[in-house]
């Protein structure tokens, strides 16, 4: 399971991805990912919003995660 970071999320974490495969306890849901991140990196709590994409689709908090999922951390978008 890989976490991808973009924009300010990459600055907060200090890298563009984290491989969680070696972790003892993988997050089981999108909500778990958010809790993991905000606990480890309090700066995530300061953002206007924080969305998660699972396999490149926006995912609600209750979406269940699988081992091979690509999890992207989506801070407030600002294209255009």
């Amino acid at each position: 399971m890989e976490l991808l970071f973009f924009g300010i999320a990459k600055d907060i974490v200090g890298k563009s991805s984290i491989d969680l495969s070696k972790n003892s306890s993988l997050p089981k849901s999108v909500e778990d990912v958010k809790l993991f991140l905000t606990k480890k990196y309090p700066d995530f709590s300061k953002l206007s919003s924080l969305a998660i994409a699972v396999n490149s689709e926006y995912a609600a908090d209750d979406v269940v995660l699988n081992d091979g999922d690509e999890i992207a951390i989506i801070p407030p978008v600002s294209g255009g």
């Binding site: 991808l4 973009f6 924009g7 300010i8 600055d11 300061k46 953002l47 206007s48 994409a53 490149s56 689709e57 926006y58 992207a72 989506i74 801070p75 407030p76 978008v77 600002s78 294209g79 255009g80």
Partner: protein, 139 residues
């Protein structure tokens, strides 16, 4: 003929968009180009830096194009966004719609740029003389 052109590119060529939107069933073509402004809140902007989660951005841009085509019966749509560094006056996004009558292409073009700014995973960093700011990141 493909009805939509959805792209993320290093360099935007805005001059090609009319040929891409041209269609015998269209009486109107509306194009919006977003460009880099020299000042934000009275601070001089040196450049903008765009990055994207490309695979997802393309998917989301395609959704927007499909929604607009369904809703306003468009003949052709172009959504093309630049990434990387862009200086003042450079184009960063081109959105175009081609339709039988002008109402549809104006409304659709506006809808597409508004929705792109809300949903497509692209991030913009403003580079000022003494600092950089991720746009919209904080309340």
């Amino acid at each position: 003929m493909k009805k939509t052109i959805i792209e993320i590119v290093k360099t935007l060529n805005v001059d090609v968009v009319y040929k891409e939107l041209s269609d015998p069933k269209s009486g109107g073509i509306c194009v919006f180009v977003g460009t880099v402004r020299d000042f934000t809140n009275n601070e001089e902007v040196i450049s903008l830096e765009f990055e994207t989660y490309k695979v997802m951005a393309i998917k989301e841009m395609q959704k927007i194009a499909n929604q607009a085509i369904d809703k306003w019966n468009l003949n052709k749509v172009v959504i093309r966004h630049a990434i990387g560094g862009k200086g003042v006056e450079e184009p960063v996004v081109v959105i175009g719609a081609s339709s039988g009558h002008r109402d549809a292409c104006f409304t659709a073009c506006r809808y597409m740029i508004d929705t792109l700014k809300e949903t497509v995973p692209i991030w913009k960093k403003e580079v000022f003389k003494n600092k950089t700011v991720w746009v919209s990141a904080h309340p």
